[in-house]
């Protein structure tokens, strides 16, 4: 990245966090395993990126038990949806100004 642009969200600079947000934008809720296989990540890697998005209140994490197996699923918050939309908007308007 050369110049820093208005409206681009630092939280989405990482490709992994961008991927997590994209998937959660398109789905109501996605469990940890599905997210991991879609993004081709390791457990620790996904967990740490997910936690940083959680701390920003962009995504919400729900832990429950299915039978005896623990199951973690993620969904996007209203704040996260707004922030991600603004990020996409900024990218799109940047492309428009260049053309």
């Amino acid at each position: 990245m050369i110049a820093h642009l208005d409206g681009l969200n630092k939280a989405f600079e990482s490709k992994i966090r961008l991927g997590i947000m994209s998937i959660l934008m398109a789905n109501e809720s996605v469990d940890f395993t599905t997210l991991k296989s879609l993004l081709e990540l390791t457990d620790g890697n996904l967990a740490s990126h997910a936690r940083s998005l959680e701390e920003l209140d962009y995504i919400r994490c729900e832990k429950k038990f299915i039978g005896r197996k623990p199951n973690t699923s993620y969904s996007i918050t209203d704040l996260g949806r707004a922030a991600f939309s603004a990020h996409i908007q900024a990218l799109a308007s940047f492309i428009n100004t260049q053309q």
Partner: protein
Amino acid sequence: MENKEALNTLNDIKEMMERSSKFKAISGLSILIVGILASLVSAYIYFFLGDYSINTPTKWRITTYITVSLLVVAFFIVFIMAYIKAKRHNLRFTLDATMRRLLLNFFIPLGAGGLLCIALLMQHRYGLVSSITLIFYGLALINSSHFSFPALRYLGYAELVLGLIDCFLVDYALLTWFLGFGVLHIVFGIIFILKYERSK
């Protein structure tokens, strides 16, 4: 940031959103094969009965047995070939939320139509059965296209229109089935292969 980088990022976002929410392993060849099978089977029934119209209980019984078997074989082919396509192109093929949504949205309208047809057959009211199968199949395709290739809806629209035309015609059950399940699948299968699968 360069223009190209921003564009790539947007494309990545779009691809991720699609890949995570749509089932992309449907094989165009399987649609084509189902179309060919359906054409052959309806041609066989036509020569067997010697008529387009299926107007006696015996004719209906024979036709029902054959078409239900064809239906089972067709689903089996689509399922197996989707599995092969998923393996080959590294696509997801698990009973996750996406596949469950696709199956539910496909089989709820189709199941409703199927039950309606069974009820009509039991009451010996045969006239609308062929159009009902096409109409509900079309609705099932339109409904489930949101969770797979959006283009599936065009096949759905075509089946729906054909089914609605068939409502107003009497005695052309076999011909409309031949067109709807045979010809339309062949045409759509070829378009599907050319549009989505040729370059890969």
